[in-house]
């Protein structure tokens, strides 16, 4: 190279022509690039909002998304505990996963650069591996853009003015088209099954309905619920509380879909023809069941399918227990229960009506003659109001009131009825009162939003003209000279929150108010009556706060006695818990007796 190499000297000078132009080099400090607002880069998943339904993984046509367990995420009711992990070697950034995410936790970001030492690293868990991407979220599926259908198919119901004239069923039920449309909203994640006490196969039967296979759906339902029509109308539907769609919209109407399917089979023969359950050979074991409520009937049905000789003893003239006597007929018509019990009788369950254990037959006799006994006695006695004058003529418990109405007796309600309580039972009493022609006020000690009753029931009551008086604590029943109810006095309460618990109602002094009334219906809780049990058995049976203690198999401290329903610690005082108790007791009894052989 000589010093006279002209080319080498001149070429760098040529670069001067670039002076004054905007540089194409990367700036330091890094300059944010201008990326479009809806850019679809790497995903970001808000791990707290994600419920692990797996809809993203199911929709992905490239099979790029896996659901994996993360150490920091613990599943629970309404959360599978799994989170999506994306294989970016496969992802084509179409964002369909974002469009179908029911919670909106999965989004895409403006991030598209991954720096790593490992050239084979393609698997990233959005949200866990890129928490900082939260700030760069660009592609979201809001309620309008989401492909989920968040609005429930509305249920047709009787006009409130019509309703109070009779005990006709209020809800008219889905027709076929509505049921298919509603069933199609389900994303089949199965989160609901965990919340259901008996773990019904919910996604399976809803899928069957969506595909137009109502018979198959009924068969799937009967696999572990023998009173589906009861549940289809009055279930407390904890499944819907954890529905994936419910996070941002209205839960899939699981209860009403079940109701739709059960109504397609309108008599016992048809149910038998459709369900065609497997019936085992008789095994000559005898099981005695006390009480033909949901728990007793369920245990009876599933035990007889397993070849047991089952006899149910029921003190009333009709089956169903609280479901029959405690729920007004406008919510659950008589035929609904009767049809299902007819079917059970066809499958071999024997029921002795008008047979009160402890009076018409002794418990000892059943105990001695059976290989196992199931107690499904429920909570028959109501708590008193516990205030001055609650012994007056015209103060009644809601259980007695509804029981009388449901057995066809008449109750003189007069012009004004006061119902006390905030649960479904007291709402039932109020709405029955309206149907009997009374004006109804309902007193509840807390706020309306604290009421344990279903919101549909509360709304229904208000539509029908029930006057709700929240934050009102009854203090005294006013009697006339003959000892009959004349009125009720209550104080207004203010809600005071202390510590972490729910706010407590505290009476406001001087706020006493008196309402004139003819009848007071109290629905503030019930207790069990164990007088049917002989002393030595009652002594041995372990109880806690008036409820029988049982293990997972619903077995009591006396190995031969199983128990379920409202009278058991396990039970949550609703029909589906009782059905679950009956079902698991069946498995428990089966396990115990089959082990003997």
């Amino acid at each position: 190279m000589s010093i006279l190499d002209l080319k080498g000297l001149l070429v760098p000078i040529g670069a001067l022509k670039q002076m004054g132009k905007h540089p194409h080099t990367i700036n330091f400090p890094d300059e944010e690039k201008n990326i479009s607002d809806r850019y679809r880069g790497f995903h970001h998943n808000s791990l707290e909002d994600c419920i692990g339904c797996g809809n993203c993984s199911t929709i992905c046509m490239n099979e790029a998304i896996d659901m994996v367990a993360l150490a920091e995420i613990e599943g629970g009711k309404g959360d599978s505990g799994l989170r999506p992990r994306v294989d970016y070697g496969r992802c084509c950034y179409c964002a369909l996963c974002v469009d179908v995410c029911p919670t909106g936790s999965l989004n895409m970001t403006k991030d598209f650069i991954q720096v790593t030492n490992n050239p084979y690293e393609f698997l990233l868990t959005p949200g866990k591996d890129n928490p900082e991407a939260k700030e760069k979220v660009s592609f979201k599926a809001d309620l309008e853009a989401s492909l989920n259908i968040f609005d429930r198919v509305p249920m047709r119901e009787l006009d409130p003015g019509e309703r109070v004239k009779s005990f006709a069923e209020v809800l008219l039920g889905y027709n076929e088209e509505e049921a298919r449309r509603e069933a199609n909203r389900c994303i089949s994640c199965g989160l609901c099954t965990e919340a259901c006490p008996v773990h019904m196969h919910i996604p399976e039967y809803i899928n069957a309905i969506a595909q137009g296979k109502d018979d198959e759906a009924l068969k799937i339902i009967y696999d572990n619920n023998d009173l589906p029509e009861v549940c289809g109308k009055v279930c407390t539907r904890r499944c819907e509380d954890v529905c994936a769609i419910q996070v941002r919209g209205e839960a899939v109407a699981i209860r009403w879909l079940k109701g739709y399917v059960t109504e397609t089979a309108d008599n016992a023969d048809l149910i038998k023809q459709i369900v065609t359950p497997e019936i085992r050979e008789p095994n000559h074991y005898k099981v005695g069941i006390v009480g033909a409520g949901p728990a007793g009937l369920t245990a009876g049905y599933y035990l007889s399918l397993r070849g047991y000789d089952v006899t149910i003893y029921e003190s009333h003239k009709d089956p169903g227990g609280m479901v029959m006597y405690g729920i007004p007929k406008y919510r659950l018509p008589y035929d609904s229960i009767q049809k299902q019990v007819d079917y059970m009788v066809k499958m071999g369950v024997k029921i002795h009506y008008n047979t009160r254990v402890g009076k018409d037959i002794s418990f000892q006799e059943i105990y001695d003659n059976s290989d196992a006994v199931f107690l499904g006695v429920g909570l028959q006695d109501a708590w008193n109001l516990g205030i001055e004058g609650d012994d007056a003529d015209g103060v009644m418990s809601a259980i007695d009131f509804l029981g009388k109405i449901n057995s066809g007796e008449t109750v003189e309600v007069g012009k004004k009825l006061i119902s006390v309580g905030g649960g479904n039972v007291s709402i039932d009493a109020s709405r029955v009162g309206r149907r009997l022609g009374a004006e109804v006020d309902q007193l509840y000690r807390r706020r309306i939003k604290d009421m344990p009753a279903d919101w549909e029931e509360i709304e229904g009551a208000e539509d029908e003209g029930v006057h709700l008086i929240p934050q009102a604590i009854p203090t005294r029943v006013i009697k006339d000279k003959k000892g009959k109810v004349k009125g009720i006095e209550y104080v207004k309460a203010e809600m005071i929150s202390e510590g972490g618990g729910r706010p407590r109602p505290v009476p406001i002094e001087g706020s006493e108010t008196i309402i004139d009334c003819d009848i007071i219906i109290a629905a503030i809780g019930q207790k069990a009556d164990y007088s049917l049990l002989p002393e030595d058995i009652a002594d041995k049976l372990k109880m806690e706060r008036g409820k029988i203690l049982v293990n997972d198999n619903r077995q009591t401290s006396i190995s031969k006695i199983f128990a379920g329903g409202d009278a058991v610690k396990y039970g949550n005082v609703d029909a589906i818990s009782a059905i679950a108790d009956g079902y698991y007791a069946t498995l428990g009894i089966d396990k115990m007796l089959m082990k003997k052989e």
Partner: protein, 190 residues
């Protein structure tokens, strides 16, 4: 609110000449439905007589339930700024459509894409058979009966490290102790 004078006039002139159904969709938008055999004449008429000199777009929809493909030709008049959408349906099991790249050259690209992605034949169409796909030996991928997911499973290998993936339904079932009977399993989500 305009009374769609210009739009109605175009629609009427089309109806006078051809057997079509159609309506004014909205301001400056006219939609017509025509038989397959009339499409090229309608497009020529619109281009030469009515000033719709610009071919905006051609799109295709697979109506699998009705066993038909729908082709939509969108043309535009730069002077009046009107758009006409010409819809036509062809049979899915006999997917042949007249070639219109003699009217607009750029139609050639659209048609080659439809040939590859939907399997629609355009007799006389000049251009390599392979357009975007290479060595494709499956049914045309934009047809609705093409199972993309199955294709992805069959074609691509699973990356190591993905073995710990779980099925949501099974995970919940295991946790709660639910037993799904066999006759119900076919309705579970995979």
């Amino acid at each position: 609110m305009s009374n769609f004078k210009k739009e109605t006039k175009i629609l009427k002139s089309l109806k006078d000449v051809f057997e079509i159904k159609g309506s004014v969709k909205s301001d400056k938008r006219i939609s017509i439905k025509a038989d397959k055999k009339n499409v090229s004449s309608i497009l020529l008429f619109l281009k030469n007589q009515k000033g719709f000199i610009h071919l905006n777009h051609i799109s295709c929809v697979d109506w699998i339930e009705q066993n038909e493909f729908e082709l939509v030709y969108i043309v535009w008049n730069p002077k009046t700024r009107l758009t006409v959408m010409v819809h036509t349906r062809i049979k899915r099991d006999e997917p042949v459509m007249e070639n219109i790249d003699t009217i607009w050259d750029q139609a050639n690209t659209y048609e080659r894409e439809f040939r590859e992605m939907f399997g629609i034949e355009f007799p006389g169409l000049i251009g390599a058979k392979e357009f975007i796909l290479e060595d494709w030996d499956n049914i045309p991928p934009m047809r609705k009966d093409f199972n993309s997911q199955q294709y992805a499973i069959d074609t691509f290998s699973t990356r190591p490290g993905r073995e710990n993936a779980q099925n949501v339904r099974e995970a919940i079932q295991k946790r709660s102790g639910e037993e799904i009977p066999d006759f119900a399993k076919k309705y579970s989500r995979d």
